[in-house]
């Protein structure tokens, strides 16, 4: 692990984050957008762990905040999917551009 410079890991997580943003921007399916958001949170977690590993902050801090992020991601997924199910029950669609009742 010592062999990999910090910047490589940061660039890797940057790419992962960018892929997540791309997915969140272009997906039509709401579940697809949620999946992309999970990817973005994951990239942020990798960054937290890398910083806590490489720099002389308290080594536990990064991991603990990663745990918090994972918990938040779980709640986001649960609430988001509940909204998707409620939407599907009412409108029979999960595509964002078909839910345009308030758009003009």
């Amino acid at each position: 692990m010592i062999g990999i410079p910090l910047s490589h890991i940061l660039i890797f997580s940057l790419l992962l984050f960018a892929i997540g943003v791309y997915g969140a921007l272009v997906r039509r399916n709401i579940i697809g957008i949620l999946i992309s958001i999970e990817l973005m949170l994951n990239a942020a977690n990798i960054n937290l762990i890398a910083f806590s590993k490489y720099t002389s902050l308290s080594p536990a801090t990064g991991q603990i905040f990663a745990i918090f992020v994972i918990a938040i991601a779980a709640t986001a997924a649960a609430v988001g999917l509940a909204i998707v199910l409620a939407l599907y029950r009412v409108r029979k669609t999960v595509y964002t551009d078909e839910v345009n009742l308030l758009k003009w």
């Binding site: 080594p59 991991q63 990663a66 609430v79």
Partner: protein, 174 residues
């Protein structure tokens, strides 16, 4: 043993590459079920990366919560909203070129920033090892307030999810 260290280094790079490939799969595949499976693979790859970072506890939590719970939830939602043998519909909207252009600029900018910044990497930090005990003590000591807030958020999300997802008509309760 330098050879094993070299192998570990290249193994880590390989894991990173695999994660990126699966992440691309998540945002480009047309079948949403395949996307969810790609997400699971990317998350498991991230757990492997955490093991390489000597954060085994977090790796286990990652698999338990993300792969065991979040991906399962997502697949559950997919099963409830997709048709079993439905025709493949267009999954992306028309913003794709714009998004790619903007994100390329974003990535280029941040890459320059990352490479220019002198990161305070210290050798003592690289050698440090976090035990599960230390994590638990930090969670119950220094970070006890955020911990409690997270618990409240989880409870609120639990109740909110039930309220949102349950059927409206009261006589149709399970």
């Amino acid at each position: 043993m330098p050879i094993l260290e070299m192998a570990a280094k290249f193994g880590t790079y390989a894991v990173m590459a695999v994660i990126l490939i699966f992440a691309l799969g998540v945002v480009t595949l047309r079948n949403i079920f395949h996307c969810a499976l790609c997400l699971a693979a990317a998350l498991i790859g991230t757990a492997v990366l955490y093991v390489a970072f000597r954060a085994e506890y977090l790796a286990a939590i990652q698999i338990l919560l993300y792969v065991g719970a979040v991906v399962t939830l997502i697949i559950f939602a997919i099963m409830l909203t997709e048709h079993l043998a439905g025709k493949t519909v267009r999954q992306n909207n028309s913003q794709s070129p714009l998004a790619i252009a903007g994100l390329l600029g974003f990535v280029a900018l941040l890459t320059v920033v990352i490479l220019k910044t002198p990161w305070p990497v210290t050798q003592t930090a690289l050698k440090a090892k976090v035990s599960v005990m230390a994590l638990g003590e930090a969670l119950m000591g220094t970070y006890v307030f955020p911990f409690e807030v997270i618990s409240i958020i989880l409870i609120a999300a639990l109740i909110g999810t039930v309220v949102i997802a349950k059927k409206d008509a009261p006589e149709e309760r399970l």
